[in-house]
Subunit: 316 residues, 2 copies
């Protein structure tokens, strides 16, 4: 039987924004960013309630504990583990909604990591992933682990099994990630709905070659091979419609020295890899300028791929 450490009153955990797909690995690859993510504070209550106290965000998020991913997963895990302690949640969203940056995964994972700290016998990452998946179902109707995996394990992850979630941690390439969030909202459901149910066999083969050479490039630390492989002929063309001027943004990034450019998850956010911080700055400027040409404002981040993506930041 699982028990709560009664010496702990409040835990705050951070969980990072994540980029799923990574051009070559639709629904199987993802990586975590540094310094951008969500914070969830869990405070032990005297009653049995799970309650959201505050959500700090630029957007309006559901306070209903059934519809908020953070509270929904805490409710479910308390039920399953027969834990009768109640919790108050305070959520600070650093990740914009429907941005393709794994915001729903991050809130759920931050809540779970905070919760796990209360347990006298903490759960494994695989067990946490099971609950985080339920959060994804609350958020978008499907249990996709492509943001969950990099958010829980950190680094660059390959999902080899969806449910239960099984992950291979790939070598982290020595690159910088430029992440641009155009101020457009694309719901994951909508971004999935546009995809063809089938892939031409010859495109499957070509895309498989990109994926395999990307994995080889990671292990070989071969930046030229990584650059050659980072191309999505399958999914990106179907989703380019969601960002006016997407191809101009991509072209500008590549011209400015990007190693590869594609959507972060289902978009509209766009990531680019670069070999250096200074390249990253130039690439960011070029990408944002193209968006401004279309009168689209954007936020941006420059980050290494984060080795650790979810961790406790405060414990009282």
């Amino acid at each position: 039987m699982m028990t709560i450490n009664l010496n702990i009153q409040t835990v705050t955990a951070f969980a990072a924004a994540t980029c799923a797909n990574v051009a070559v690995g639709f629904d199987i690859l993802g990586f975590a960013l540094e310094n951008v993510g969500d914070y969830v504070t869990l405070s032990r209550r005297q009653d049995h309630e799970i309650i959201i106290d505050t959500i700090t965000s630029n957007e309006s998020l559901p306070y209903s504990t059934q519809h908020n991913t953070a509270s929904a997963v805490i409710k479910k895990i308390c039920q399953d583990l027969n834990i009768e302690t109640g919790f108050t949640l305070n959520i600070r969203k650093g990740i914009p909604m429907s941005s393709g940056m794994g915001g729903s995964a991050a809130s759920a994972v931050a809540a779970l990591v905070a919760f796990n700290t209360f347990l006298n016998t903490p759960l494994s990452k695989n067990e946490l992933a099971k609950y985080a998946l339920l959060g994804e179902e609350v958020a978008c109707g499907q249990q996709h682990p492509d943001n969950i995996a990099p958010c829980i394990w950190g680094g660059l992850t390959l999902i080899v099994s969806n449910n239960p979630v099984e992950v291979v941690q790939l070598p982290i390439p020595d690159v910088f990630c430029v992440l641009i969030h155009p101020h457009l909202q694309v719901a994951t459901k909508q971004a999935r709905a546009v995809l063809n149910d089938a892939v031409p066999l010859k495109d499957h083969t070509r895309q498989s070659a990109h994926l395999a050479s990307f994995i080889a490039a990671l292990y070989e630390k071969d930046i030229a091979l990584l650059k050659n492989s980072l191309s999505d002929i399958l999914i990106e063309p179907q989703r380019a419609q969601f960002v006016p001027g997407f191809y101009e943004v991509k072209e500008a990034a590549l011209k400015a020295g990007a190693l590869g450019v594609s959507f972060s998850g289902s978009g509209p956010s766009i990531f680019a890899f670069s070999a250096s911080k200074s390249d990253a700055e130039i690439i960011r400027t070029a990408m944002q300028a193209q968006l401004e040409n279309k009168h689209i404002h954007s936020d941006s981040w420059i980050s290494r791929i984060a080795k650790d993506a979810a961790y406790v930041t405060e414990l009282l």
Copy 2:
């Protein structure tokens, strides 16, 4: 201008049998075997003719120099390089026809490697591949490099570009290959014709995960991961029809300890990987027994993956 070394009269080269696809990499992966392959002897003539003298084989192969892959590629390369020296070819086929073991590639590559030895400035592997591709066109109507690549480069190859052929040499896993050739003929054309033009997106994703984890397993030298990844949900089910009892053969191999089993190229040959030589012997026996149950005789080989696949064996 290319010139011929007039001190050389006769060169014999060997080129190995190869297994394309390797379950997880349709049209992009392949590996070479040891000790089974074709030999081609090129003898310099006084006239300008390209002539096939003998073909040693259990089967009847075309003596027409336009339709034999070995002579066709020698004709073409002599034309392109403006070499007016004639050659007599003697071909010893160790690879059965239409077996899925890369016989046409091996004959072309052996001829090209022998030819290259005559050149005062030998051609690169990439240049040889270009001509070997023409041999594949002669043999099956299409320029597929999936047997060419492992035959020329050896080891386990990933094709990242078809034409020009570009290859990544992957780590060679520490396994034994059991190769069974059921006495059935499946023409490559026929084996391609049965394939659906499209792949369901969800199957693409699953198969991509298998491919990516296979590549990771090679670098990590992780035999358990290799075993988990070696699965073809796309192509194998469509070609199983060509070998009566295919699934029984596969099941028997896995029960006997195989790490993975699938078609070699487009079949009907079947390869299995095993962790040890003694496992390989047991797996071979089990597979052949299943075929015998269906009254299908077979040949078999047990081999490491060959580091070198094509080389000169005699020079006079």
